[in-house]
């Protein structure tokens, strides 16, 4: 008896096919990892199960939930099914919860929608369920509001809502993607425990093969709306059958080849000494206002050609540190020197000339461009830093050359940023950063939002540029798996301080600080779990 049985599910919106003959099943107590890149149709499959497909979608094939056919079922039927037979958890716990309702009421709401119970009884159920997901009422009263909880705790509330009526199937759609690694590990453990205890089926939708490797029993790989492979999860290490699955794995563990070595003896290109950045709290009536020290006495240096990773969880101060390094915020103490020149003290023309040497690529390939500007103007924006600005024709020639260098053709120059995919936009962002020929580029989560195949390409591009131009990189990220393959040295930041630093390989092999150990243990790691065994064996 299966919990979910999908047979030949096809879905199209208008004339565009979204899903093609998808068949899969989930048994009670089983965790199915559904992996694929953006647009592969994994989320749409989940929505089809819930009957939440877009209005103009046409659906063929059959979906059975606990034996009941739910494909193309009327909405009145689906309203009964959702919440009772199948629960779903989404990526963003803040937007999935209602900010003006207490957590107790939100869990109780699901109960009351399906069962004729009083509010009091429903709240009693809510209390028990919240206790199960690790939010006991003594520490987390039912009267708390979502904003009073952390991201991980909010996701626990979302899970509580989904499992309140002990559905037979739970769908987690990128449910841990927005969480820090240690929180992610806890939430995944919680999901595993609930599945075992309730004999629930769980579909874990994710782009992250490593998460599936550590959590799921079976995995299904989707590409362009088709299910290309279904296999037990230990096949990840043993070798998957389909070429696309193999490529997905290869991209996820991709290590770009770098030829140049950091120049250890040269003067550092970036040097940070005793940097302090405090934020003032609300002024107190008496005494001094409370201040929050986001960055606390941080020192670091980067050699020419060196690639350094700065990792830490959200709120550790890494973004603040980055802004201070880029002179976007003024530190209270300390110095930042770029090629020996102090950027924190510089103003006007001097500051501009230092900025030429240090540039940045941001995370969000959608938010980092003015939507009204053409690519040619966006890339040329940094010409503002030059004392003698090139003529329009000369500027255009250099923009075209730079676009070519990052792997885009010059036709891109006349288009707007929304016409490009995420990976292409990140290439444009790199072109913009490179146009003044800087020595250091800071990458603020620059590959975190990209699919693994695109990420591998961008990392290759960065490695290639570093080889050719002798660039140094500062990779700021929460994702240890990113920095592992591309950095020479690693800095680990916690609560505003750098708690550990060393050669990347050495830190991964033998982390000395307890926080680093915790971080590494929590990071789902394909290399550690599967591929490494294969490599050492072969």
């Amino acid at each position: 008896m299966t919990v979910l049985d999908i047979r030949d599910l096809s879905l199209s919106i208008g004339s565009t096919p979204i899903l093609k003959n998808v068949s899969l099943s989930v048994a009670p107590g089983e965790i199915l990892g559904l992996v694929g890149e953006s647009g592969s149709g994994k989320s749409m499959t989940a929505l089809a199960v819930l009957g939440l497909t877009p209005p103009r979608a046409t659906l063929t094939g059959e979906i059975r939930l606990n034996g009941q056919v739910v494909s193309n079922a009327p909405d009145a039927v689906m309203q009964q099914v959702r919440g009772r037979d199948v629960g779903i958890i989404f990526q963003e716990p803040m937007t999935a919860l209602n900010p003006v309702m207490t957590i107790g009421d939100q869990v109780a709401e699901t109960v009351r929608l399906h069962k004729k119970t009083s509010r009091k009884e429903a709240l009693a159920v809510a209390s028990a369920v919240l206790d199960r997901v690790g939010l006991p009422a003594e520490r987390f009263p039912l009267t708390r509001y979502p904003h009073e909880l952390s991201g991980g705790q909010r996701q626990r509330v979302a899970i509580a809502i989904a499992i309140a009526l002990t559905p037979k199937l739970l769908i987690a759609d990128e449910a841990t993607t927005a969480l820090d690694v240690t929180t992610q590990a806890q939430v995944l453990d919680l999901l595993k425990r609930l599945v075992r205890e309730d004999g629930m089926g769980l579909i874990l939708i994710t782009h992250d093969l490593a998460v599936v490797a550590e959590t799921a029993d079976r995995l299904a790989v989707m590409k362009d709306g088709e299910l290309v492979e279904e296999a037990p999860v230990d096949r990840i290490g043993a070798g998957m059958a389909h070429a696309y699955s193999q490529r997905l794995l290869a991209n996820a563990t991709h290590a770009p080849t770098r030829h140049s070595v950091p120049q250890a003896d040269a003067a550092p290109v970036l040097q940070v000494e005793g940097l302090v950045r405090e934020y003032g709290g609300a002024p107190a009536l008496f005494g001094k206002a409370k201040t929050f020290r986001a960055v606390d006495q941080v020192s670091l240096s980067i050699q020419p050609g060196e690639s350094v990773g700065l990792v830490g969880e959200s709120g550790c101060g890494k973004s603040t540190l980055l802004r201070a390094i880029l002179a976007l915020e003024t530190p209270q103490a300390g110095r930042v020197r770029v090629k020996g020149r102090d950027i924190t003290a510089a103003r006007g023309a001097a500051l501009k000339s230092i900025r030429r040497d240090i540039q940045v690529v941001f995370q969000d390939p959608y938010g980092s461009f003015d939507p009204r500007w053409k690519v040619s103007d966006l890339v040329a924006e940094n010409f503002h830093l030059l004392d003698a600005r090139p003529s329009p024709a000369e500027a255009r020639r250099r923009v075209d050359e730079m676009l070519d260098r990052v792997g885009l053709n010059s036709a891109a120059a006349d288009r707007y940023p929304h016409e490009f995919s995420g990976g292409q936009r990140q290439r444009i962002a790199i072109a913009r950063a490179l146009i003044t020929e800087p020595s250091v580029i800071c990458l603020d989560e620059a590959v975190s939002a990209l699919d693994v195949s695109v990420r591998a390409q961008v990392l290759d591009l960065l490695a290639d540029l570093s080889d050719r131009l002798g660039l140094s990189y500062l990779f700021v990220t929460h994702d240890l798996s990113v920095v592992r393959t591309v950095t020479d040295r690693l800095l680990v930041m916690q609560a505003g301080r750098i708690v550990e630093q060393g050669e990347t390989a050495a830190v991964f092999a033998a982390p000395s600080h307890p926080y680093t150990q915790k971080l590494l243990a929590a990071t789902p790691d394909l290399v550690r779990n599967h591929v490494l065994e294969k490599e050492t064996a072969g």
């Binding site: 003015d370 830093l385 995919s421």
Partner: protein
């Protein structure tokens, strides 16, 4: 990472024009055309007094009747449209021209500059708009130009607030941070990146303030502080009709309708533009 299409579709989705915009823009065009036509032609001379034909009800000769001096109401309304539209338009211009830079500066500088601008704003906002306009014209004397200034003054904080609120959100965008690493000054970023991205909001607000301005001008004229006779004005026509409403109701109804239609046209245009610019609202319809 949700399932966004990996390759951005180059084709733009076809724009669906909101109904309110179509109706609003259509009506606005009619009002504007009437005002322009009145520059060169009205059925009768606006100032021509014809005592013999006084207080005639709407007829084939006088579509909207005549007033107690025998002047043609239709001609007066056509000519009055100019006055109302120009006063409201210039007043909006004053609001945009002064309010927007103030809002942009407040957002760009923050700190005490922001405090100063916004508290000054609160000060103007503290007075009911029309009361403020009456106060200003009472001090400076009645007349169309003073009405423009009075209405313009209470438009300033409206645009300051809209510009500052939206600009503050834009200042945290990564493309603004990127512009800062390109060494651009806050003023330059405000002009190159912030202003173009909040233009649509300002256009919507301008349409709404335009409608408010029409009502304000009519209000000022009604109490005798707007355009002075013999210049035709909808507000003053209403005021003069007040004593005759029992036996010549068209004298009040016609200018009332003119104000109503104009305000409706501009409000619909504002609503429609907002729907057009805000894809979130557009998707829900």
């Amino acid at each position: 990472m949700t399932d966004a299409p990996a390759i951005a579709a180059p084709a733009k989705p076809s724009v669906r024009w909101p109904l309110s915009l179509i109706v609003g823009a259509g009506l606005t065009a009619v009002v504007l055309a009437t005002a322009l036509l009145a520059l060169v032609w009205t059925p009768y001379d606006v100032e021509a007094v014809d005592i013999a034909a006084k207080l005639t009800a709407p007829s084939a000769a006088h579509w909207m009747g005549t007033d107690h001096f025998g002047r043609d109401v239709l001609s007066m309304i056509m000519a009055g449209a100019q006055n109302s539209l120009i006063v409201a338009f210039v007043a909006v211009g004053i609001g945009v021209a002064i309010g927007t830079p103030l809002g942009l500066t407040a957002a760009a500088r923050g700190g005490w500059v922001d405090e100063l601008v916004m508290r000054g704003n609160d000060l103007i906002f503290a007075f009911p708009a029309l009361l403020l306009a009456v106060m200003i014209t009472a001090v400076m004397g009645p007349g169309a130009i003073n009405a423009v200034i009075a209405i313009g003054v209470f438009n300033i904080p409206v645009f300051t607030r809209v510009a500052r609120g939206a600009a503050q959100g834009l200042w945290t965008r990564e493309y603004v941070l990127a512009a800062r690493t390109a060494g651009k000054s806050r003023a330059l970023i405000s002009i190159q990146h912030i202003l173009p991205n909040l233009l649509s909001l300002l256009v919507v607000q301008a349409a709404i303030q335009f409608a408010v301005g029409i009502v304000a001008e009519a209000g000022l004229s009604y109490v005798g502080l707007g355009a002075q006779p013999p210049a035709p004005s909808w507000g003053r026509m209403l005021a003069e009709a007040q004593t005759m409403i029992g036996f010549a109701p068209w004298l009040a109804i016609m200018p009332g309708l003119a104000i109503f239609v104009t305000v409706l046209a501009l409000s619909l245009t504002g609503d429609g533009l907002r729907d057009l610019f805000d894809p979130r609202v557009r998707r829900e319809r």
